[in-house]
């Protein structure tokens, strides 16, 4: 049963890693941002 448990945890870790890729929103460095079309 240990094997099942650890497999579940390993799968969970992989799924968290994969899922987190969808959540990460990176922004470019502030000095490189283009605000030409912004509302400001």
């Amino acid at each position: 049963m240990n094997r099942k448990f650890f497999t579940l945890l390993a799968l969970a870790a992989l799924m968290i890693a994969a899922g987190s890729m969808a959540c990460v929103k990176t922004v470019e460095d502030l000095d490189r941002e283009d605000e030409t079309d912004s509302a400001t």
Partner: protein
């Protein structure tokens, strides 16, 4: 850890009362069938370690994050951490008089001082500490639940969920929010110790430890005082084992409160009131619009917290303070929803004590940060770190109950843990993704601005960050464009909050970058008039720009500079920035001894900063002491090498000239060139 069947122990029944107790709650049924002969058990220690390892792995990317947000105030520019010999000041009213950051949380300052002395300003080590503290909270929570008699499936699921809960991203990823982790760690340990004490014949030795732990938790963050009523509620509900006698419970509950009361008394002695923020402080939104609109908004905020804990979307590093009307449909709905939830929780007390614990427990723990007592920020994800403990227990029990039904209906025992696994994976993925918001100040404020464009703080901070990038820009057209963008952010910030000092500071630094000293001085003065605290850098700017004011006599400029500087040094004696500016000003005013004294103090208060070292070297060269300059550089190798190479090269050239003039016999042995292998 797949238990099966309705009768399996350790499946976290929502109505789990004493009748649901397993004779060996820590020995779960892990078989695929209900027969005890087929069961294979997992050791609780293995489960605990494996789950902690999973949580640590998930948090590992945070080791690459920088120091952000309030880290500058509490760690990077907090000179008090560099003078452990003056620690005694922390426990006297002088701590407030000298504006020691977070003086009202002496435990936290003590921890920060210790961690700084151990690892300096290494962000990796500080983030590793954050992860360790979070793992400590998880382990303490598991230990407490086990002590209370919770079955393995429930405590392990609660631990996994708490460890991976997305709303914890801010508390774990920002070093200066160690306060939340430390307060939670000590508070849960206090509850664990009290639970152990209440089950012993001789309770008082452990009760004493519980009092100290409760005191320690409140010394990290006063909101941890709510652990006492939570502990009493948990023991009174006794979801898994028979309730202990009431006199014992009340005695231990009072003991836990004693720790909190001691800290509140200390705060009273320190500030002369319970609130450390002052009655007129405009940072407290309640002081601007009154308590009623703030409390109305607080109901909406707390419904939002609940949604974020159950379904993790809408998490943000910045929430603008806003009031609301009690007749707003949103307020009415939020109030009705929260009241209904509380009523349901209380009504379940006998039949489903776990539901009561989850709901009423979360209400109790959320109370101190619910704006009933005015606070500078009405909403922050980190406020939910400790209150999420009962929520996680409730969600874990709910997911396990759902899994049990699913497994029974589909006759697939393996599905028992499917809901909790799915929930933990969802939370963990969002936790990792959200945590990346906090990897740098650029990322943080850009995200804050995107999520909440109406935040004056986010707009002003963006302006200041853009200015910080200005040094790297030499092209005139690009520089002008950048300054125009800064001006836009400053204007938006000022429009959103004209009574806030940060937009004024943004304008002041912009004017300084444009060398418009009169406007810079005016804006620094405006910032000072609006700012209720943390004024060291404003006073430094005010003093610095005074010396360049046009249309004033030299005597007036000197007077203006000293008028800002001298009270500043009295009020902020631990500010390295202020001492550095004092060194520069006295250097310019031709008072070398005073300048030297302040440069040296600035170096002691922030040995990592290069500017005081460069200033002191420049002064020594002006005084004709090139050998002393050489000795100084040799003694501060790392700081010297970390300074701007252009400044360094200029000083090396000046040093050579000074050697020729004042110590020609030392040219070969005291030349800075070649002292270090990578010197230009």
């Amino acid at each position: 850890m797949a238990a099966a069947g309705e009768s399996a122990p350790g499946t976290g029944n929502l109505s789990s009362g004493p009748s649901d107790m397993s004779p060996e709650p820590d020995t779960p049924d892990l078989s695929s069938g209900p027969s005890p002969t087929q069961t294979v058990s997992l050791a609780p220690r293995v489960v605990l370690l494996a789950l902690l390892l999973l949580i640590a792995l998930v948090l590992l990317p945070q080791l690459g994050f920088g120091l952000v947000y309030d880290d500058g105030w509490t760690l990077v520019a907090n000179g008090f951490l560099r003078v452990p010999g003056e620690l005694g000041v922390l426990f006297s009213p002088e701590a407030v008089a000298r504006n020691i950051p977070d003086a009202v949380r002496p435990g936290l300052v003590l921890f920060d001082m210790l961690s700084y002395q151990l690892v300096g300003l290494d962000p990796r080590a500080h983030h590793a500490l954050s992860i360790l503290l979070h793992l400590g909270v998880c382990a303490a929570l598991a230990a407490w639940l086990r002590r209370l008699g919770a079955p393995l499936a429930l405590w392990a699921s609660s631990l996994a969920l708490f460890g991976l809960l997305a709303i914890h991203a801010e508390a774990i990823a920002v070093v200066s929010f160690h306060e939340d982790l430390l307060a939670a760690l000590l508070a849960v340990l206090a509850a664990l110790t009290a639970s152990a004490a209440v089950r012993r014949a001789r309770a008082w030795p452990l009760a004493l430890v519980a009092v100290l732990l409760s005191l320690g938790a409140c010394a990290m963050k006063q909101s941890a005082a709510a652990i006492a009523p939570l502990w009493l509620l948990t023991e009174a509900l006794a979801p898994w084992r028979a309730r202990r006698p009431w006199p014992r419970l009340l005695g231990l509950g009072l003991a836990l409160l004693l720790g909190a009361a001691a800290l509140i008394g200390f705060s009273w002695w320190l500030h002369g009131s319970i609130s450390p923020y002052g009655a007129e402080n405009l940072r407290l939104y309640a002081n601007r619009v009154g308590l009623a609109p703030v409390l109305a908004m607080s109901t909406q905020i707390h419904l939002g917290y609940l949604q974020q804990m159950v379904l993790p979307f809408g998490l943000a590093p910045e929430y603008s303070d806003r009031g609301a009307s009690w007749t707003d449909p949103a307020t009415l709905l939020a109030s009705a929803a929260l009241l209904a939830l509380l009523a349901y929780g209380i009504a379940c007390a006998r039949r489903r004590p776990l539901v009561t614990l989850a709901i009423a427990g979360a209400f109790i723990l959320a109370l101190p940060t619910s704006s009933l007592a005015a606070m500078p920020n009405m909403r922050a994800d980190r406020f939910m770190y400790l209150p999420s403990v009962p929520v996680c227990i409730g969600l874990a029990a709910l997911a396990l109950a759902l899994g049990r039904r699913l497994a029974a209906r589909l006759a697939r025992p393996g599905l028992l843990f499917a809901p909790i696994a799915a929930l933990a994976i969802l939370q963990g993925a969002v936790l990792v993704g959200t945590a990346f918001t906090y990897r740098s100040n650029n990322q943080l404020w850009a995200t804050a601005r995107r999520i909440d464009p109406g935040s004056a703080r986010a707009q002003a901070a963006t302006g200041e960050l853009l200015l910080a990038n200005l040094d790297q820009t030499s092209e005139a057209q690009r520089r002008d464009l950048l300054l125009t963008r800064v001006e836009t952010h400053c204007e938006i910030a000022e429009r959103h909050d004209p009574d806030y000092e940060l937009p004024q500071l943004c304008f002041a630094r912009l004017a300084a970058a444009r060398k418009d000293w009169r406007e810079a001085h005016r804006r620094f003065a405006a910032a000072l008039a609006l700012s209720p605290d943390r004024n060291a850098r404003i006073l430094a700017g005010l003093a610095q720009t005074s010396l360049d004011l046009p249309d004033h006599t030299e005597a007036d400029r000197r007077r203006f500079a000293l008028e800002a500087l001298e009270p500043g040094l009295v009020r902020y004696p631990y500010s390295p920035e202020l001492h550095e500016v004092a060194g520069q000003i006295f250097h310019r005013l031709g008072e070398p001894l005073r300048a030297l004294e302040h440069y040296r103090r600035a170096r002691i208060l922030a040995p990592e900063r290069g500017q005081p070292l460069l200033g002191e070297l420049s002064l020594l060269l002006d005084l004709g002491l090139p050998t002393a300059a050489h000795t100084l550089v040799a003694a501060h190798r790392q700081t010297w090498l970390a300074t701007d190479p252009i400044d360094r090269t200029a000083l090396i050239a000046r040093h050579r000239d000074a050697l020729r003039l004042f110590a020609p016999s030392m040219i070969l042995s005291a030349d800075l060139v070649g002292v270090f292998a990578n010197e230009p």
